[in-house]
């Protein structure tokens, strides 16, 4: 609960995340995969590669390339969505690609491509952050060399208050939405967007709140991987 006991219309406190569950390795045919349930968001991320680059002219001799596709299922929204990639999906694919790229050690895989496919089964605001969290677990599950996991969470402003983890209603009725993705152990910001207006003081508060949210999500990502690979023997010597 927040200090001033402010309760949002969805019943959450200002600094409270939605209910999150993450599971790693759910798709057999992919090299790595994860499913995340982030409130009402349901998202699957699958990773293939590193593999041969097609078309060849995209190949880089000194490092890997990342191909990322963020796609919403026709049934993921309340009215049917056209299954072809929309302008918004193409933009979010690019944003996610650039958010995960700093975490991957691209130089270890020259002349190859790493493909990240993200399917939104059900969406409810904040799906790009949830998608980054799922993609990060899927990348680690695929055994790709990474500097750190990537974790993402949004903060925003609704009803004049700074809030954590903005959902669909708050996004539409609120004053600001600020998705943030970080590398928690290295302390690097890899994605920062801000839709709306915040004063300097509000911005500082939102940034701190989003960073704290990311740290909570990091623990969940960590648990998902630990559960799959070590049966949740957390970081203990063997």
């Amino acid at each position: 609960m927040s200090k001033n006991n402010y309760i949002r219309t969805n019943g959450r406190a200002a600094d409270e995340l939605r209910k999150v569950s993450i599971k790693a390795g759910i798709i057999k045919n992919a090299d790595g995969s994860a499913i995340i349930e982030f409130g009402k968001n349901k998202i699957i991320a699958a990773v293939f590669g590193p593999k041969e680059v097609h078309p060849k002219h995209m190949m880089r001799n000194d490092q890997a390339i990342i191909k990322c596709r963020y796609h919403m299922m026709p049934f993921s929204t309340d009215t049917r969505k056209n299954p072809s990639l929309s302008r918004r999906e193409i933009e979010i694919s690019k944003v996610i690609r650039e958010a995960i790229q700093p975490a991957i050690i691209m130089e270890d895989y020259p002349r190859t491509a790493i493909e990240v496919y993200i399917e939104i089964l059900q969406s409810d605001g904040g799906s790009r952050c949830a998608a980054i969290n799922a993609a990060s677990v899927a990348l680690a599950d695929a055994g790709i060399n990474m500097r750190d996991l990537i974790t993402a969470c949004a903060a925003g402003k609704a009803d004049g208050k700074i809030i954590l983890d903005v959902d669909d209603v708050e996004d539409k009725t609120g004053e600001a939405d600020m998705p943030l993705s970080i590398l928690p152990n290295l302390g690097t910001i890899t994605l920062f967007q801000l839709d709306g207006c915040l004063s300097e003081e509000e911005f500082k508060q939102a940034l701190e709140m989003a960073t704290n949210g990311c740290k909570k999500l990091y623990e969940l990502q960590r648990n998902a991987l630990m559960n799959k690979y070590f049966n949740n023997n957390k970081n203990k010597g063997v």
Binding site: D31, G32, G49, P50, K51, E52, N61, A103, I105, E107, D108, Y109, P110, R111, T112, A140, D141, A142, G143, I144, N145, M146, R147, D148, L149, L183, P184, N185, L186, R222, L225, M226, Y229, F230, N233, K234, N235, K236, G237, V238
Partner: protein, 221 residues
């Protein structure tokens, strides 16, 4: 005697702080040694390495690998070695003399789909790994089946001083060739091959069991 410290890690975990050297699957940042993979971190004296639990095979010099010929052009065969990169087998490496595209034909030696046991003769990040089939036990193999196992479980399949592989071979009268890339070539009777595939599946899923040898022994009998 030096002590070996081990712990489970995921990417981004700090394995140890201080004057240590990252060897395999680890990087150093601000005096911290960080893991880059999911696996078991091992600290031996000042060296830190992470033995990965997943991922594809990354070629290393002198590794024995089993691959399938995927393609050929006028000078080389491309061999699928279950890795990020294709293995390259040069025509001259098979003929033992200078290869001439007008005189010699690659198709008369290996065809697409042939199974080869080879060694990684040279590899660095800038080029695909070069293969060699010179050496005892290397070359084309036929009359058998191919099976795959996660690269991380290859040592478990071989067992301590080859105990597991010996157990399987003695009980099934089959010959197993295990590549370090996680590809296994099984030569023997059809019923035995089916049995071995089951055993490999169990080893892959239950590699952590301490009495795995007994379990496999029961299954084979």
């Amino acid at each position: 005697m030096s002590t070996i410290e081990r712990k489970y890690v995921i990417p981004g975990d700090t394995i140890i702080e201080g004057d240590y050297r990252p060897l395999i699957n680890a990087i150093k940042r601000n005096n911290r040694v960080i893991s880059t993979r999911i696996g078991m971190a091992e600290i031996v004296r000042k060296d830190v390495r992470v033995i990965p639990l997943n991922g594809t095979y990354y070629p290393r010099l002198d590794d024995t690998v089993i691959g399938i010929v995927a393609d050929s052009n006028a000078f080389v065969w491309e061999v699928d070695i279950n890795s990020v990169f294709f293995g390259i087998l040069q025509g001259s490496a098979v003929l033992g003399r200078t290869f001439s595209a007008s005189r010699d034909s690659l198709a008369s030696h290996f065809k697409t789909g042939d199974c080869l046991i080879a060694k990684i003769a040279s590899f660095d990040r800038t080029r695909d790994p070069l293969l060699s089939i010179y050496g005892p036990g290397l070359g084309k193999v036929s009359n058998g089946e191919i099976c795959k196992i996660s690269m991380a479980q290859v040592p478990r399949l071989i067992g301590k001083k080859g105990s597991m592989i010996k157990l399987i071979e003695e009980n099934t009268k089959c010959k197993l060739n295990i590549g370090q890339n996680g590809v296994i070539f099984i030569n023997g009777a059809k019923e035995s091959i089916v049995k071995i595939k089951k055993v490999i599946n169990i080893i892959e899923k239950q590699a952590y069991l301490p009495d795995l040898n007994d379990k496999v022994n029961d299954l084979l009998k």
